[in-house]
């Protein structure tokens, strides 16, 4: 019964993966007659280990994911808790919070690109009025451009964490909360010691989702900074895009893709295992 669907799954999932793995051991570029697809063993992987620019892209990606997802989790939890205490306006506020998430990444990138334009952008004017940025605007420095990307992601995805937290709190068993209240917990203690631990599994799922999304950040960086200035915002996906589709070094790009896949798959496995254990605890 399941055979046809498994065949289709194998075709759409396994074929590209196997093809990428094979390609990663070749030298192939569609625009270079000499890179004709001959096998070169582990050369692409060895090149990767010595590639400083790739190393920097990995560091930028790690910093980006940790900062963006970390801030989102913190803010999202606070907003989620605040939402759970709203009674009448909760539905309206919740709907409003959905707005940034509905916008496609490309549109978000364009919005910030206009807003942060050093000459005409309203965000630049605002930041300048506060004395936070100089004449040249936010994107002129490595730190500013990187911060802009983090802020953009936080703006778009904090509501997601908040909604997950809200959902978790709504489903929390009331008996234990009431028991804690009877034991004389104040509001802070109630949240910190009782309710947040209850929603931990939900929160971990949310963070896992966000982290895997953030690792493959591309559109917004492409629109806003193109990976610059210098290599300040060249995240892993931008780096790989440049290798594969700007420089057309397809085989090295495949090797980078395979390595990224291995890392993300390992991370996911670890997180899932952690999640399962915690889930059993809760």
């Amino acid at each position: 019964m399941q055979a046809p669907s498994l065949v289709i799954l194998a075709l759409v999932l396994a074929f590209p993966l196997i093809y990428s793995v094979v390609l990663s051991f070749q030298s192939y570029s569609p625009v270079d007659a000499e890179a004709d697809g001959r096998f070169i063993g582990f050369d692409n992987y060895i090149r990767m280990l010595g590639d400083e620019q790739f190393g920097r892209a990995v560091l930028v990606t790690i910093a980006y994911v940790v900062l963006a997802v970390g801030i989102e989790t913190l803010l999202g939890t606070i907003v989620g808790v605040a939402l759970s205490r709203l009674i009448r306006s909760r539905r309206i506020v919740t709907s409003a919070l959905l707005l940034p998430m509905i916008a496609t990444p490309l549109v978000v990138g364009l919005m910030f690109s206009f807003g942060l334009n050093p000459q005409f952008g309203y965000m630049t004017d605002f930041l300048r009025a506060l004395g936070l940025v100089g004449e040249a605007g936010v994107l002129d420095s490595a730190g500013g451009a990187f911060a802009a990307l983090v802020v953009m992601d936080v703006w778009e995805w904090t509501p997601f964490i908040a909604l997950m937290v809200l959902a978790g709190l709504s489903a929390a068993p009331q008996a234990q909360i009431q028991a804690a209240e009877l034991d004389g917990c104040n509001t802070f203690e109630l949240y910190w010691h009782v309710m947040l631990p209850m929603i931990r599994p939900v929160l971990i799922v949310a963070v896992l989702f966000r982290a895997t999304e953030a690792i493959r950040q591309f559109d917004q960086v492409y629109i806003l900074t193109g990976g610059g200035p210098g290599s300040a915002t060249t995240v892993n996906d931008i780096f790989q895009y440049r290798i594969s589709f700007a420089a057309f070094d397809m085989s090295y790009g495949a090797a980078l893709g395979v390595a990224t896949f291995a890392v993300v798959a390992t991370l996911s496995a670890i997180l899932f295992r952690f999640l399962n254990r915690k889930g059993a605890d809760a």
Partner: protein, 463 residues
């Protein structure tokens, strides 16, 4: 009811199909163009520019003359290159004629994806109309756009070339002239040298509230505008300075000169100009350069000739009739001026349904009447006759300079590895401009990376 409806729709569709599949050719309309290929359908992919739009508008004229149907599809730079590479490398044959940026000539010709044009010219000599004359195509432009390793692979589709644009109205203002002469000790005139270009940039950079040509400025004025984002626009901007200082990417012997003294000096110079550019030029591409000039907030720029139309368009420009066009400056007065080619090339795919029909289309696009119409409608032609046409010269102030620049312009390298080299240069130019590295260190890093990319292919035999 439903059945009747479907039948009617089918009938209309079928009738529509039969109508278009056998075009009626009128021999009187041929104008000397062969109608042997009537009924052939060509797919053309071209860059999303005015030239391509104009050609799409004019295409029915070609169909009328030859009976060949043409579908013109357009895409911006990056997407076009990706679509073409995919189409060529998988031998899909979706496109018969492709307009490619000339930097990719070595990549596509070297991989044997495109037809050599010379045999097609000879073979079809009696099939093209009299208003096509290949000798009228500007030789330097054609060489850059289509010659690779001694063979010619197409014809220029777009003659974008860099030139200096400056605010002629300010340069001629008596007060400004006097003030400039008093401050710098020589007369204000379009810059011949990079030193003058910098003096002029400094002179015209003013804050809001200061006076410019007798008026109080409501917003700041800048001496130059330039592209500095991590983007090919910044690399091409730098190559203009590098050409003037005697640096660049590859010398005449095919050796890399990315970290040569002249190249470093030119990047230092470019960085020093940043002081007189609108804030945030490190995130600007050619789009912002054009916009700044149009808004009248920049006094000078080294920019693309195909934006001159936008300067003289009243619906979008505040500087109509105020822009002067001149050669890109040089290091020392008397040196030879060099612009930078930005040409695109019509190439014929090896998979074309009919390479002779495809050639006819290319020849028609470069025929005298089409080239003149491209000029009239705001595009950039590739033939001398169009640039010397008295009507066009009278109405287009940039025309004589476009021709001069086309004749003295240098080409970017066109080897298969150029896309990778370009990417490294974009990274390092941007790094130097924002001050994360010195121009010298940045170009040394670029040189090292590019040496790694090219390996034992250095010195380059063809580029």
């Amino acid at each position: 009811m439903l059945t009747t409806g479907i039948t009617t729709v089918l009938a209309i569709t079928v009738a529509g199909c039969s109508g278009s599949s056998a075009p009626e050719v009128d021999p009187d309309a041929a104008d000397g163009w062969s109608q042997d290929f009537a009924g052939t359908e060509l797919n053309v992919l071209a860059e999303a520019t005015l030239n391509s739009e104009i050609l799409a508008q004019l295409a029915p004229e070609f169909t009328e003359k030859t009976g060949i149907e043409v579908n013109i599809e357009t895409a911006p730079f990056a997407q076009l290159v990706q679509s073409v590479t995919l189409d060529f490398s998988t031998a899909q044959g979706d496109y018969d004629v492709v307009s490619i940026p000339y930097d990719y000539l070595g990549a596509y010709a070297g991989s044997d994806y495109v037809e050599e044009i010379t045999p097609l010219i000879e073979e079809n000599d009696d099939k093209v109309g009299e208003d096509f004359d290949q000798d009228d195509i500007i030789p330097g432009l054609w060489e850059t756009a289509a010659t690779w390793d001694g063979k010619s692979y197409g014809m220029p589709s777009n003659s974008a070339v860099t030139m200096m644009m400056y605010r002629a109205d300010l340069f001629e203002n008596a007060d400004e002239k006097a003030a400039f002469a008093a401050e710098y000790g020589y007369d204000l005139a379009p810059a011949q040298t990079w030193a003058q270009y910098r003096d002029i940039a400094e002179f015209f950079t003013r804050d809001a509230g200061e006076t410019l040509a007798g008026d109080t400025l409501s917003e700041a004025m800048y001496g130059v505008t330039m592209a500095g984002k991590r983007h090919e626009a910044a690399v091409f901007e730098w190559m203009n300075y590098a050409g003037g200082f005697g640096g660049g990417v590859v010398d005449a012997d095919g050796e890399l000169i990315v970290d040569s003294d002249a190249s470093v000096e030119s990047l230092e110079y470019m960085k020093s100009l940043g002081e007189f550019a609108p804030p945030g030029f490190t995130s600007a591409t050619w789009d912002e350069v054009t916009a700044n000039l149009q808004q009248g907030i920049a006094a000078q720029a080294i920019s693309w000739g195909d934006t001159a139309g936008a300067m003289e368009d009243e619906s979008q420009s505040a500087v109509v009739g105020k822009i002067g066009y001149a050669d890109v400056p040089v290091e020392t007065e008397g040196d030879e001026h060099h612009a930078l080619h930005g040409a695109w090339t019509y190439t014929i795919s090896k998979q074309a349904v009919d390479k002779n029909a495809a050639y006819l289309f290319v020849a028609w696009a470069l025929s005298e009447s089409v080239q003149k119409q491209i000029g009239e409608m705001g595009g950039v032609p590739a033939t001398r006759a169009a640039f010397e046409d008295p009507e066009l010269v009278a109405s287009l102030p940039s025309w004589p300079q476009q021709l001069l620049s086309l004749e003295n312009a240098l080409a970017r390298p066109r080897n298969a590895e150029w896309p990778q080299i370009l990417d490294q240069l974009a990274l390092q130019v941007s790094t130097a401009l924002v001050g994360d590295s010195t121009p010298q260190k940045a170009l040394q890093d670029a040189q090292t990376e590019i040496e790694g990319i090219l390996g034992d292919k250095l010195p380059l035999k063809a580029f």
